[in-house]
Every structure is written in C-alpha cells, then in structure tokens.
C-alpha cells in the first residue's frame, strides 16, 4: 500500500512511456559493473558454446563477423531503475549460434572475460530474443559497455545482458550466477519487478 510523500509532485517525465514498474527514463547510458573493465584484443577474442558431454562450438572474432548480422532496436531496463528506449545494436542472433547445438538442457550460464557469470533459461536466448552484439548506435561497442561484444537479452533486466561475453554453458539445472548469488533474482523479469532474491 503506497502512502503519499508530503510535498512530492514528481516530474512526470515518463507519463506517456510504457515503462516497467519502478523504472525511470534516461537519455544517457549509465555504466554498471562489479569491477575493473577488461580490455580484450579482437585477435584474442573467442566465443564458445559448451553443450556438455564434450560438445563445444567456438567462434573467433572474424568467424562471428562472417555470420549473418542483425540490427536490433529495443528498450533496455536496468535493475537500478533506469530504462532507455529505442537503443540500437548490431550483432548475431543466438538462434544462429545455436543452430548446430544438440542438447536437452534447459538452463544456461553465461560467462564473461573478467569472470562475470549470469544464468538465463535457454528458452530466453532463442526465437529472436537474444543476440551477441558488437555495435551500439553505429559504433563499435565501447569497453565500458561490454565491448568488444556483450550478450543482449532485452526482455530481462540488463544484468542478464552480460558484458565482455565469451561463452555460454548449457546446464541441466538452474544455478545462480554472480549477481544472483549476491541478492538478485534468478530470472529478472522487469515487468514483474523481479529485482531481488
């Protein structure tokens, strides 16, 4: 039950925007990360899908660039309450990357350079719902925003869109990643306000 706060009127900036509960609009692009920014050379960069039972699929930077590229325009929502509308990205659909992957696993752990991890159900990565992106607003993705490449899963809170991504491991059972062991929700649906625990 909400109580009015005496004297607070607010600025109503998002009256006409369709925002998840508790979110406010920003035009800037805040940077959030748990530690220093890793700087990864393109020559060293790889992305790997580990399907278990010894089956692995791996791409170099050039191999990723050779795959079909998609332009994505989407809204993003951070658990720290900001939302940014109409962000423009370019990258490769996870549907493309998972084309030859055989597995019955339902869960994934996303891994990053620097050691970050986050868990996402496999269904939430497929059917046009997620990408490995390497451009933002027509420019190469800056290191502070996860460059050279990050995961983009816009329908979940943005901590699931792992920066500096280098791999996805399929799992039989759901396990918490970095923020999920530090108090954040296992799934993270912004429209249901699944922020903590």
């Amino acid at each position: 039950m909400a109580i009015p706060t005496s004297g607070f009127t607010g600025r109503r900036q998002n009256r006409d925007a369709d925002l998840p509960p508790g979110q406010y609009l920003t035009d800037s692009f805040p940077v959030l990360s748990a530690g220093p920014t890793p700087h990864v050379l393109l020559a060293d960069w790889t992305f790997r899908i580990d399907a278990g039972a010894g089956e692995a699929h791996q791409w170099t930077w050039d191999q990723l660039q050779a795959l079909p590229q998609e332009d994505i325009t989407t809204d993003i929502h951070c658990v720290t309450h900001w939302s940014k509308l109409g962000t423009r990205w370019r990258g490769v659909s996870l549907d493309t990357l998972f084309e030859d992957v055989e597995s019955d696993a339902e869960y994934t752990m996303v891994h990053s350079y620097g050691g970050y991890t986050t868990n996402v159900p496999l269904d939430d990565l497929l059917d046009g719902k997620a990408w490995i992106v390497h451009e933002f607003d027509g420019e190469p993705l800056a290191p502070a925003h996860g460059g050279p490449a990050r995961l983009l899963v816009p329908h979940l809170y943005f901590w699931k869109s792992a920066k500096w991504v280098n791999g996805i491991r399929l799992m039989e059972q759901d396990l918490p990643g970095f923020w999920e062991t530090n108090g954040y929700n296992m799934y993270g649906d912004p429209w249901r306000e699944e922020r903590y625990w």
């Binding site: 109580i3 009015p4 607070f8 748990a34």
Partner: protein, 238 residues
C-alpha cells in the same frame, strides 16, 4: 533484508554541503545491514505518481535507523526533493537494505583501500564508520577526490576518525580548488599509486564515483599490478 516496501519516517536531517544533506530514517522494526549496501526509496505524489531511486546507506544507527546522504543533481527528479523539501516527520517507503557485493564488514582483517570520487564517498563512509566503531585492526586508507573544500562530505567526522582510529589514513585530493598549500588538479595515476596500499599488501579495494572516475582509477590500479578480482566498483549517475 526486506523484500516488501516499508513505511519509514524521517527522524532527522542535516546539511553536508550547500547541495547535499543527510537524511535519517526510522524504521518500524530493527533494521539490519552491512556497510556498502543501499536501499530503494519510493516517493508517491498525491495522485499516485511514483518515483523510485536507489541510495547508498551512509550510516547504520542501530537498532531502527539508518542515514542516507543525497546530493542534488541539476536535472534530478527525486534528489532536489530529498535535499530541499523533505522534512522531519515526513513518511516515505523503503525497500531493503540490499546488495551483497560492494560490502565490507569489520571481520575482514586484511588491508582496506577505499577510493571515492565526489558523492561516491557515501557507501565508503559507512565502511569507515563501521571500522572505527568496531575498532577493526584492518589497516585502512581512504583516497577522496573532490572538487573543492566546500564539496567535502563529513569533513569534521573524517578528521576525528583519522585522529582517533590509528589504523586509518585519509587523503583528500582537490580537483578544482584546494586549501592553501595543497595540490590542486585532476587526480593522476601517480597520485593514486602514492595514496594506495601497494599490490604486495593485497588490499581489498572499493572504488565508488562517476563512471569516468571509476574507469580511470580501476584501470590504473590494474596497471600497477593489483589483482582485478580484488577491486570492487560502484558507479554513480550516468
């Protein structure tokens, strides 16, 4: 930790600078948390419009109170209200405290390196206060970068902590205007290195400030040989 929104009452306010003030909130029941955590505040207008923001806890005042320090942002929607309008006796809603990463507790014995840019000092001050109250033996340094002497939060208390807590050393670096005889200018790599424990001491490092500040300082420390896995960061604004 509380998942749900609780109604709290403002029990005290006091100015920190011309544009920042500390707000003390009284909870209905005991509130437990650790230094470095934050709370979500929810403000509701008469017509039901709501705004939610996160603020770091500056001080824990057991059993039922905690303090936030809020700096007014030029284009802010919530901070000008918290700094300029909110009064003792007003009620608002709080969720939390939350956060399990950017935290420090006095049972951690190793060297503690705190680095703040501007209002980024707030969660680090909670750690410093906890260090002093617990008489922690952890050798501790705070490097606090700020525009000018008028922008320093907790000035008097920092001086007292440095004098009374023999494990704590504090360096304030002024970027625009400094007291007489002190260096002025943007923080440099050399100045950061000189004000921090060396990598051989393996300090736990907490950096909080604007994105540009945190990016620069964290990169210098990694360059100096500090283990990236020991550096925790929190970025304000953006």
């Amino acid at each position: 930790m509380k998942r749900t929104w609780q109604v709290v009452e403002v029990s005290a306010v006091r100015p920190e600078t011309a544009r920042a003030r500390t707000v003390r909130l009284r909870f209905p029941d005991a509130v437990v948390g650790v230094p470095g955590q934050h709370v979500d505040l929810r403000l509701t207008a008469e017509d039901g419009y709501q705004a939610v923001r996160s603020y770091s806890v500056a001080a824990w005042v057991p059993p039922r109170e905690l303090e936030l320090t809020v700096e007014e942002l030029d284009d802010g929607e919530v901070s000008p209200f918290l700094v300029g309008v909110l009064s003792v006796g007003d009620q608002l809603e709080v969720r939390g405290p939350v956060g399990g990463w950017f935290t420090w507790t006095p049972d951690l014995a190793g060297p503690l390196q705190l680095i703040a840019g501007g209002s980024g000092v707030v969660p680090l001050m909670a750690m410093l206060r906890s260090h002093s109250e617990a008489r922690s033996a952890a050798p501790t340094r705070l490097l606090y970068s700020v525009r000018s002497p008028e922008h320093v939060f907790y000035r008097g208390e920092l001086a007292v902590i440095e004098q009374e807590d023999t494990q704590v050393m504090i360096d304030i670096a002024y970027s625009r205007e400094a007291p007489d005889g002190q260096r002025v200018g943007r923080l440099t790599h050399e100045a950061v290195t000189a004000s921090c424990f060396p990598p051989a001491d393996a300090p736990a490092i907490y950096i909080c400030g604007s994105t540009g500040f945190v990016e620069a300082v964290a990169a210098w420390l990694v360059e100096d040989g500090h283990d990236a896995g020991r550096i925790r960061t929190e970025r304000y604004g953006g």
